[in-house]
């Protein structure tokens, strides 16, 4: 059982018993894993350190519930806790205001045209404009839709991995991804209609 090369198992009993030294070592070992999840899935307006702290506080509160014999490695259990906490934070965040066409750069508009026009070729623009458009589109989705698209299309995780991380069943992940892409299309159409006005 390792988290970025650290043997986490040795600190679990101490952390469970409330020992400071073991608890600190556990935090230091798990921080890289947790912060990577936070950076991918945190709400825009929430500082990553604050969210990471919330995750660790939850972790210590629930440490007694983790049992190795469940067959779930401790790192997976932590990842799931981190993803679920991020999802709760995303749900709590208010939906961001509707994007106006004037907010989109020219490069973003080319990608938008590529998305919605079957004859359009892949734009030559820089990749960061594609990344920017993706972020702007994802920001218009619900927390669950945003999470599933990010995990599936941006982090390229399998349906089984997403199921394990979120606690959703595999069919539920597939259905949610299908619906989320449908909503993305609506978002793209909304952006394009805004451009025409």
């Amino acid at each position: 059982m390792t988290a970025d090369g650290h043997d986490v198992a040795q600190w679990l009993p101490g952390a469970r018993a409330g020992e400071d030294k073991a608890s600190r070592a556990l935090v230091e070992a798990l921080y890289p894993q947790v912060i990577r999840i936070v950076r991918s899935h945190r709400p825009v307006r929430l500082a990553e350190e604050d969210l990471a702290q919330d995750i660790f506080v939850k972790l210590f509160g629930r440490l007694d519930r983790y049992e190795e014999q469940d067959g779930v490695p401790f790192e997976h259990w932590v990842s799931r806790l981190a993803v679920r906490t991020c999802l709760d934070a995303l749900r709590a965040e208010r939906r961001r205001p509707e994007l106006r066409c004037s907010d989109l750069a020219e490069e973003d508009n080319r990608w938008l045209e590529y998305l919605l026009t079957e004859t359009a070729a892949v734009p030559d623009g820089p990749d960061f404009s594609a990344a920017e458009l993706v972020e702007r589109m994802l920001a218009q989705l619900s927390a669950e839709d945003r999470l599933v698209i990010r995990l599936l299309d941006l982090e390229q995780k399998s349906v089984a991995e997403i199921s394990q991380l979120t606690g959703w069943s595999r069919p539920a992940v597939k259905v949610r991804a299908f619906r989320a892409r449908h909503r993305l299309r609506k978002v793209a159409q909304g952006f394009q209609e805004g451009m025409k006005l």
Binding site: V27, Q53, F128, L133, E135
Partner: protein
């Protein structure tokens, strides 16, 4: 997969090419201290744990009491009924003797 889905995948692929901004993955100074300060106190056993802990002895005690009471009841039912004073007979016998 629809045409839009294919094009979305292409766009997402381009977005993945953007290198993540370099960020340090090590915990910032004092982070563990701040977490431990917010760590919930180790509470006593939860209510359900207390229930589970006391459930078995409580059931055993109740069962023992039930067995004792049943035994007493059976014993009481088998005991000869106390003869009532046969007032009529006594009176008749006295009268007979007279």
């Amino acid at each position: 997969m629809s045409e839009f889905d294919l094009r979305w995948k292409e766009l997402a692929g381009k977005a993945r090419n953007v290198p993540a901004a370099h960020a340090d993955d090590t915990a910032p100074s004092g982070f563990a201290t701040r977490v431990l300060a917010r760590r919930p106190e180790r509470a006593g056993p939860a209510t359900e744990d207390l229930w589970l802990r006391w459930l078995r002895p409580s059931l055993a005690t109740m069962a023992a009491i039930a067995v004792v009471l049943t035994g007493l009841e059976v014993r009481a039912s088998r005991a000869p009924v106390l003869a009532r004073p046969c007032i009529e007979n006594t009176v008749a016998q006295v009268l007979w003797k007279l």
